[in-house]
Subunit: 210 residues, 2 copies
DNA sequence: GGGGTTATGTATCATTTGATACCGTCGAGC
DNA sequence: GCTCGACGGTATCAAATGATACATAACCCC
């Protein structure tokens, strides 16, 4: 698909006209449907994807268990790809579209030079590295020190804080995959929370009280 | 302490003469003794430390448990400080000198502009971000999916691979702190390994067999 | 050699987490 | 209505991990 200048209404991080021209010249737009797998573990990536609209979920997998690393929302890019693109490494995670998602694709060979030429690009990259690192560090601290029921609680609270809604549309199985555990464990913990009047459980969603 | 040009024999990453001059102009050398705490959780850092000689250990702590994040060796810098220095955040980990260590200290306000001016500096930063991220990701995967005895085994093998020695000078307690668990757990696992003829245990060190 | 400190061995017990199995319910689609 | 698959509840059991306690041994320093 062709790119239009409208793009930069959505990607405000890239302010320099020169950079915008470069992006228009080298970039492509990709549209992904819900459920499309965009990145696979072990795969070499020679492009950098920047989400314009929608949401990607990036996670690690081991046999039948998986664990969330982070989400990539609009104006963000994916750490795995960034590493791959700069250093020709392969990805160590999987990425899947959670909803219909529009992605700007930039070829790896152009972005290294932008790093020096365009301050806003540079800042974007550094910011991405830092925020992804912080997220991962937080997750690491949680999994190293906190019991699962606390992580569940924090997940729920994190959700309602972001979405401003007490109603969390997630199945027990999905929640288990976010936290790297199994469905039964989650069901048990949620049921306990319900007995403690902290939540109310429904099919397909969880209502957090007061 | 004053800086001399000799420095750049040890820090080969910084090749541009201009950058070297900048470093000479703004940098200071700090000497730390074994056990000196250089970074504390929550602390604001307005400088970036680059290790010249020696070793720093960076770890997270929670109550009486701790877990290793990474080591900072010669020619490397610390992720926490990097984040702090670029974004004026506070550190979310602790850093301590493991041996007598010499550190180049650069004030935070100068490094942001170097990022655009000096390609070798830029590369250094990106490389640091990437390798720290990869380390953390590996650690995260391990702790999420692998039982402790496997992590112990991998720690031992990682050590002998780096140090080319089958003799690992570490106490059970220290090893427990590297992996985020407790001494008794480590003793139990190592004893099991010994019964399986995989290692031989001594006071203060572990001998890995064949 | 004595005294204090650190390192290690080990037993016991509780708790957390995970694996397995089975069942009932709900909702979509026919 | 019926069927099928996803979802959730729950019981049972096993394994991993952690907490506590105590004993012994090695080492350091004086």
């Amino acid at each position: 698909m062709e790119i239009s200048v409208d793009l930069f209404k959505k990607l405000k991080s890239f302010s320099e006209p020169d950079l915008q021209n470069q992006i228009l010249k080298h970039g492509k737009i990709l549209k992904a449907s819900k459920g499309d797998v965009l990145i696979k573990e072990g795969q070499h990536l020679n492009f950098l994807p920047i989400v314009i609209k929608g949401l990607l979920r990036v996670y690690q997998q081991k046999e039948d268990r998986e664990i969330l690393l982070y989400y990539v929302g609009p104006e963000q890019t994916c750490m795995m790809s960034l590493s791959s693109a700069y250093f020709d490494y392969s990805s160590s995670a999987n990425g899947i579209a959670m909803e219909p998602t529009e992605i700007l694709i930039l070829p790896a060979h152009v972005i290294a030079e932008w790093q020096l030429k365009y301050p806003s690009w540079n800042k974007f990259i550094i910011k991405t590295f830092k925020s992804r690192y912080d997220e991962l560090l937080t997750a690491f601290g949680s999994i190293a020190f906190k019991p699962i029921h606390v992580r569940v609680k924090e997940y729920l609270h994190g959700y309602i804080k972001n979405q401003k809604s007490q109603k969390i549309p997630i199945s027990h199985l999905t929640l288990a995959n976010e936290l790297g555990t199994t469905r039964v464990v989650i069901s048990r913990i949620l049921k306990q929370f319900e007995l403690e009047k902290k939540v109310k459980l429904f099919r397909g969603y969880i209502q957090v009280k007061n």
